[in-house]
Each structure stands twice: as structure tokens, then as C-alpha cells.
């Protein structure tokens, strides 16, 4: 394999944002037909590297060699012309246009009838039945991610950069997604697979490169073990996953949050939450899992007040809040942790301190602020820095500050750990668990059973807008297979 010429060589790439060095002279090469896994924590520079390769960022120093031609890309269009494409963490589609138009945009052709036929065939071959005239905003996250991948494959690229794109897909779909990528590599395409999940990387990669704070700290061949990679990723720092489910300690008999026969419609007037009832007592941590697009998001938003409830009732400590605006519910002690920190978790353009100030109903002293930043491990720790300058993971952490200011009566969280590396994920989950222990009623809506299995007191599975089954045993881990079966086959 080493005898072959690399398709692309990255030479001494250096990129700085303000005072933060994102990439500090990174060099690597990718060969045709191989999957190069790039690993690293949040803020290690993985995404920056991907964006430089795709022409979204312009490197300060260093260059790229494609087919022995030295270059740097100053726009994605150039990268695309060289057969490079990036499927990123968030599907990059134009929401207001149809699927067909998005693909046409990518292919630089008009949205003609021929293209429509071609696209429909391609999608059918991949086993996706999507009406291509639908507006993208009506698609689920999964569907969007697939379209993003499919449109890249239509052009038959030479290098596919996959930046955490499969990380958040539900297992079954993820397998399908990864399969497509593997097939692509088998046909001779190059893949740069970026992830922070070590197991996923080992499963996919032919070679491994580990980044830490902008430096390449390890290059491994196939057959490397998890510990080696982990050591490279985290350095000497120890990282723990010790969750002990605390004994059920229900302080109240009454329900802190109860949802009765709730129906919520989506953008097309179809019920995405269909007759859901559930109760959460103080001190309980209840999880609702399901494959993305089965209504967890809408359920969470309806409880938070960001989405209208069509029928049913939502009660908070025996007060009806079904039609109260979101702001009212927050004041009454219901805190919602959204999935997307960029759009809902923080206000870009404000400083960290100002964001925290908004969460708090009372005055925030400097000491409290510093303590919070320390507790949440926000980096850099300057509270007067603009949030927009932080990395995605750190922004998510800032948005969690809302949980630490008071002991809320009810916490509703929807996929709060998406975009987080393992350390931050642990931190987030432990915060939620601690809140439940100190008497909050916690409702955790998720698409990832791994993360909720260890901490939930009760677990519901949601399929097509309905909660089909509750699991309530002290040892949820033992039910894992059952839960997965219900999620997929209900």
C-alpha cells in the first residue's frame, strides 16, 4: 500500500484564530482506496483541518498537494473541482429549497426533469424513499445527513471527508451510512473519517491519525488498540466514566411534570407526537429514547413551550402550562436544555458572562461566574470573551450553565451531549444525575441509548410519536437488547 502514490498530501498546515492556534503544522497524506481515521477531542483541530481541505478556511501557512500539484484551496468550489467533498457534522443543505434543488445546486445544473429521475433512481438504490420535491426543512436530521452524502456520491468524488457526520445517526442507519462509505473506499476512493469515537474509528479506519490541540500526536496502522489511541488523545490526563446509579430516592409522591395525551403536529400537520402521556416525580431521571425523528425533539420542544401542543395537557407541579409561553415556564422552574447550542443554547455575539447573566433570574457575581466556568471546564476561561469565539463543545458547556445556577424543579433535556467529546459528555450527564439526586425531576430525551442506560431510573422507548414501552428495572443494562429491538421493530 505504501508504494502507491498518495492522492492528497497535506504539508505543514498552520491555522490560527485570534490567539488560538487551531492547527500547528499538521502534515498527512491520504492514499486512494483507504479510509484515514482522524481522531481528537473537541477543539483538537479536526474540523478546522477538514474545512481547510475543503477550501472553507484558508491556511496561514502550509499547502496541499493534489496529484503532485501544490496548491491551497480558496473556496469549496476549487476543492470540489479536484474531486474533494466534505460531509460535515451538520448537514449543509439549504432548508428553504427542495431536495432536488439542493442537489442541482451542488451539481451546478438546473433542477431539470432528467436530474429528478436520476436522483430518484439513486435514492431508491440506496433504499431511501424521499420525495425529491419536498422542502429540505421538512426532512429529519437523518434524512438530511443522507441527502448530504448522496449528493456528494453522485459526483463521484475522489476524496470524501466525513466530519462526525455519522456520529449521531441511530445505529441501524449509521451502519448503512458507514457501509456506503466503505463501499466507496473499496471502489478506490479516499476517505478521511473524522470522529471522536474511538471504537467507531477502529471499526472504519485503515490508518489513524490523532490530533491534540492542533498537533499530530500519533499515527497508527490498522490493528492498533483502544488504549493506545486513548492515551494519544488525552495525553497524561486521566479520564473516567464511573457512573453509579444512585438508589431511587423519590421525595414526593406527586408528579413534578406530567404530560397527558399530548399531540403535537410537525410542519406539515402530521402528528409527530401522538398521544403521549408520562409523569416525572421529583428526584427521578427518566429517559425517553428512540431513533432520531420519532418525536423526541418535538416532545421536548412542546414541553419547553417552543412548539404548540395541539391537544392534551402539560402540568408543572399541578399547574397547567399547556399554552403558557416558554418564558413563563422557565420562570416557573422548568429548564430546557436544547440540542443545538448554536441556535437555542446560547446567544452568539454576547460574552460568556452575559449569557450566564441571562440564565440567572438574580444577580451574578464575578466569583460565581468564575466558579461556574471552572466547574464546566470552559476553555478559554475568560468570561468576557465572545461566545462565538469558543469551539462548539465549549459553547455547549456554556449553555449548561443554566443548570447550575439554581436547583430547577424540572429539567427537560434533548440530546444535550451531541457535539460533545467524551469528557464533556460525562460532565453533562453527571450534572443531570446530580440534579436528579438533589430533587429535580429530570426528563432526558435522547437518540443514544449508551449514554442514558447508566443513569436513568426509568426508560421509555419512543417510536413514531408514541411511547411504546417503559422499562423499569434496577439493571437497565441487561435490557439493552430488548430496548434496541423495541426501538427498531415496534
Amino acid at each position: 500500500m505504501m508504494m502507491r502514490k498518495p492522492f492528497i498530501e497535506v504539508v505543514e498546515i498552520y491555522k490560527k484564530f485570534g490567539d488560538v492556534i487551531a492547527l500547528n503544522g499538521v502534515s498527512l497524506e491520504i492514499y486512494p482506496g483507504e479510509i484515514l481515521a482522524v481522531l481528537g477531542e473537541n477543539g483538537s483541530g479536526k474540523s478546522t483541518l477538514a474545512k481547510i481541505l475543503y477550501g472553507l478556511y484558508f491556511p496561514d501557512k502550509g499547502y496541499i498537494k493534489v496529484d503532485d500539484v501544490v496548491t491551497v484551496f480558496s473556496s469549496p468550489a476549487e476543492a470540489k473541482n479536484r474531486g474533494i467533498f466534505l460531509v460535515s457534522q451538520r448537514p449543509q443543505l439549504v432548508d428553504d429549497m427542495s431536495v432536488l434543488e439542493n442537489v442541482a445546486l451542488f451539481l451546478n445544473t438546473s433542477p431539470s426533469r432528467d436530474l429528478k429521475k436520476k436522483l430518484e433512481v439513486t435514492l431508491r438504490d440506496l433504499g431511501m424513499a424521499i420525495d425529491v420535491d419536498r422542502g429540505v426543512y421538512t426532512l429529519s436530521y437523518t434524512e438530511k445527513q443522507f441527502i448530504d452524502l448522496v449528493k456528494a456520491l453522485i459526483t463521484q468524488p475522489r476524496l470524501l471527508i466525513v466530519d462526525e457526520a455519522a456520529t449521531y445517526l441511530p445505529r441501524e442507519l449509521k451502519l448503512k451510512f458507514l457501509d456506503i462509505i466503505k463501499k466507496f473506499a473499496a471502489r478506490g476512493g479516499s476517505v478521511m473519517y473524522i470522529t471522536h469515537k474511538i471504537l467507531e474509528a477502529i471499526e472504519m479506519g485503515d490508518r489513524f491519525i490523532v490530533l491534540r490541540k492542533g498537533d499530530v500526536v500519533g499515527v497508527f496502522e490498522k490493528g492498533v488498540d483502544v488504549t493506545t489511541i486513548r492515551r494519544a488523545m488525552f495525553g497524561s490526563e486521566e479520564y473516567l466514566t464511573t457512573f453509579k446509579r444512585s438508589p431511587k430516592k423519590i421525595t414526593h409522591e406527586s408528579f413534578a411534570l406530567s404530560v397527558e395525551n399530548l399531540i403535537v403536529f410537525d410542519e406539515h400537520g402530521k402528528p409527530s407526537v401522538n398521544d403521549v402521556s408520562l409523569n416525572v416525580r421529583s428526584g427521578e431521571l427518566i429517559s425517553i429514547v428512540g431513533i432520531a425523528g420519532n418525536g423526541q425533539k418535538e416532545l421536548g420542544e412542546a414541553i419547553a413551550g417552543l412548539r404548540k401542543a395541539a391537544r392534551g395537557r402539560i402540568m408543572l407541579n399541578d399547574n397547567e402550562i399547556t399554552h403558557a409561553p416558554a418564558s413563563e415556564r422557565i420562570k416557573k422552574g422548568l429548564i430546557y436544555v436544547p440540542e443545538d447550542p448554536f441556535r437555542e443554547g446560547v446567544a452568539m455575539g454576547l460574552t460568556v458572562a452575559e449569557n450566564v447573566k441571562l440564565f440567572s433570574q438574580s444577580k451574578v457575581s464575578r466569583e460565581l461566574l468564575d466558579a461556574l466556568i471552572k466547574k464546566l471546564d470552559v476553555n478559554p476561561s475568560n468570561p468576557f470573551i465572545n461566545v462565538a469565539k469558543l469551539s462548539g463543545g465549549n459553547i455547549q458547556k456554556v449553555s449548561l450553565a443554566r443548570l447550575l445556577l439554581t436547583t430547577p424543579k424540572v429539567v427537560v433535556a434533548y440530546s444535550p451531549t451531541r457535539m460533545l467529546d467524551e469528557r464533556s459528555k460525562t460532565l453533562t450527564l453527571s450534572i443531570l444525575q446530580r440534579l436528579a439526586e438533589s430533587g429535580s425531576a429530570v426528563l432526558l430525551l435522547s437518540e443514544d441509548i449508551e449514554e442514558v442506560l447508566h443513569i436513568s431510573t426509568r426508560l421509555g422507548v419512543m417510536v413514531s410519536g408514541k411511547i411504546v414501552r417503559f422499562f423499569e428495572t434496577p439493571d437497565l443494562e441487561s435490557c439493552r437488547e430488548d430496548i434496541e429491538k423495541v426501538m427498531v421493530h415496534a
Binding site: F58, D60, V72, P325, R343, E344, V346, E354, L358
Partner: protein, 353 residues
């Protein structure tokens, strides 16, 4: 082929400010030179006019209209409330001030009259902003559109008043109201045409609004509204109420400016386009020049005011400089600010490989 890219530059605040000042100064010199070449006036004459425009105390004439309006707009814009109707709100403020001064007994009370007139002017300004805000909140209608259209309607309301029911008895049929009583006028500084009271009030307003926007929770929430409505809602503040607040404050401040125009400059209500005079639109520009920060709006309004003085000053005593050339020069100088802003925030990278 060389690759050209634009990347961010991070300068310290002082360096940014100095660089901007430098670009502006060089721009002024360049403008002076070009003007003198174009018109055949000596560079000396043009330079004197330039210097005098920036040192003329009469800049406060314009500042006292532009500053309050622009400060209010910067609040609205940072809350994503696209109030393009400052012009109309200003006209309504003028109508309000005239009403108090001319048609109520308050108008004859010293000290009370101007204060009452300004308060009512602010109230009417806010009131004229209200329909657009309500239409946006309850019907989702683009507020930029409605406010823009309501400017014209405000003009015609004022026109209707001065030609109809409010037409003065002592004005020989001209379309104006009678003069407002002396008690309700605000005296101007001797030798100049502005009022110190108003200037102080305007600067106080700017500082207060800065404190409001950057130090209070509601103010911070208003700024957060610019990036995410859901975020604000999830922080326990009603985005609708905040939107309304932003709209009403910007309307009220435009109304205040309109009141000032009546009490200090016009001393009677005149036709809408004359009261408005395009200041509502210029204020939009000023608020962006100041980066939507009330404190920076102060120098921005000073600069714009000086350019007003300049555009007239250039015409005086020099050959061949009419409004055409001076407005070209003013436009050129404003464009230079944009260039200065670019140079301090970005740099162009050219790589040959």
C-alpha cells in the same frame, strides 16, 4: 495562479481605533486634494473648510437629531427589530410636540412645556411604531416593509394637518401651523443654532441606553434576541415583549428627536418631508456606523454631523462646488469609513503557491 483570500485580523482595540482614525484622516486629505484639483480652489481653502467643519460647534444641531434616533435604532437593530420607520416616527414626534405646545394649556407653562412636549413627542413616536410591531407579532408581517411604508403615510398625515385642521391663523395661508408659544421653545446657544440642554440630554440618553443594553438583564436579552429567539425564551424572557420594547424605545427616541426639531429648530409644524428631512434614514446609517453600540454611535453621529456641515461649508466661498460635488465628497468619505472598517477587521492574503 496566485490564490487570494480574505482572512480575519485581530487588532487590539486601541490599534483598531487608531487605524480607523488614520484612514479617515488620510481620506480627508485625499478628498481635499481631489476637490481642489477638481474645482481649482486652493488646497488651503478646502483644508480650512474641512478643519472648520469638524470643529464647528454647530455639529450639535445635527447630533441632537441624529444621536437619539440612531441610538434608539441601534437598540432595535441589535434586537433584530428592523425598524426602518424612524423617519415617520420622527414626524409623529414633531406632531406630538406641536400638539402640546400649541393646543394645550401646558404650552404656556415655562419649563414644563418643553418637557411635556418632548414626553408626548416620544409617546407619539412610539405609538407610530406600534402598528408595525403588532403586525409583526400577531400576523408575522415583515416589519421592515410596514415601517418603510408608514414613513410616507406619516409625511402625508403631517401635510394634511398643516394644510387642514392645524393650518395657522397668522401664516397667510402657508402650509404651516402658527408658531409655538415662546414658553415652549428651547433657547439656542448664543451664536449657534443648537441647544445645550438638548445636547446634554442626547448624550445622557446614549449613555443610559448603553448601560441598559450592556448592564441590565433585559438589555442583554434584547441583544440576544438578535441571534436567537428561542434562546431568549428559554432564558425566561418573553421574546415578544422584548421585541415590543425594542420597537417602542426606538420609536420613542425618534419621536423625541422629532420633538426637538419642533421646539428648537422649526418652532412650528411644517410639512412632513421638511420635518423629516431624511434624518430618519441617515440615522439608520449612523447606528450602523456606530456598530449598533450606543456609545460608539456618539462619535458616529459626530462624524456624520460634521459631514453635513462640510457639505454646506464646501459650497461657501469656493468656486464650482455645488451640492453635487459636496455630496459626492461626503459619500466618498463615508465609503472610506467602510474601507477603514475592513482594513481593521480583515486582511487580504495573496499566496503564489
Amino acid at each position: 495562479m496566485p490564490k487570494v483570500a480574505i482572512v480575519k485580523r485581530e487588532l487590539s482595540k486601541i490599534a483598531t481605533a487608531l487605524a480607523k482614525v488614520l484612514v479617515i484622516l488620510l481620506g480627508l486629505l485625499l478628498a481635499a486634494t481631489l476637490t481642489s484639483i477638481a474645482t481649482g480652489n486652493t488646497l488651503k481653502l478646502i483644508s480650512i473648510t474641512l478643519f472648520q467643519s469638524f470643529t464647528n460647534l454647530n455639529v450639535f444641531v445635527y447630533i441632537s437629531t441624529l444621536l437619539p434616533t440612531a441610538v434608539g435604532l441601534s437598540l432595535a437593530f441589535s434586537a433584530n427589530a428592523w425598524n426602518l420607520g424612524a423617519e415617520g416616527q420622527l414626524v409623529f414626534g414633531a406632531i406630538g410636540a406641536t400638539f402640546i405646545a400649541l393646543f394645550t394649556p401646558l404650552g404656556r407653562q415655562e419649563i414644563i412645556a418643553p418637557i411635556a412636549a418632548l414626553i408626548f413627542a416620544s409617546f407619539l413616536g412610539a405609538l407610530w411604531a406600534l402598528p408595525a410591531a403588532l403586525l409583526k407579532m400577531f400576523r408575522g408581517i415583515n416589519e421592515a416593509l410596514t415601517t418603510l411604508l408608514m414613513n410616507f403615510i406619516a409625511y402625508y398625515v403631517a401635510n394634511y394637518l398643516v394644510k387642514g385642521p392645524w393650518r395657522g391663523r397668522t401664516v397667510y395661508g402657508y402650509p404651516t401651523t402658527d408658531m409655538i408659544p415662546i414658553e415652549s421653545r428651547i433657547p439656542t446657544a448664543p451664536g449657534y443654532s443648537f441647544s445645550w440642554y438638548v445636547v446634554v440630554a442626547c448624550i445622557a440618553i446614549a449613555v443610559l441606553l448603553y448601560l441598559f443594553l450592556y448592564r441590565t438583564r433585559v438589555g442583554i436579552a434584547l441583544r440576544a434576541l438578535g441571534s436567537s429567539i428561542h434562546f431568549v425564551e428559554l432564558s425566561g424572557l418573553s421574546s415578544k415583549k422584548l421585541f415590543l420594547i425594542a420597537f417602542l424605545i426606538s420609536g420613542a427616541l425618534a419621536g423625541f428627536a422629532g420633538g426637538v426639531k419642533i421646539l428648537v429648530y422649526h418652532k412650528k409644524l411644517v410639512e412632513g418631508p421638511i420635518v423629516g428631512g431624511g434624518y430618519g434614514f441617515t440615522s439608520i446609517m449612523v447606528s450602523w456606523l456606530g456598530g449598533l453600540n450606543p456609545l460608539f454611535v456618539i462619535p458616529a453621529s459626530y462624524y456624520t454631523a460634521a459631514l453635513y456641515i462640510l457639505s454646506f461649508g464646501l459650497q461657501i466661498g469656493s468656486a464650482a462646488v455645488g451640492d453635487a460635488l459636496s455630496s459626492t465628497i461626503v459619500g466618498f468619505l463615508l465609503a472610506l469609513i467602510l474601507l477603514a472598517d475592513f482594513l481593521t477587521r480583515y486582511r487580504i492574503v495573496i499566496r503564489f503557491r
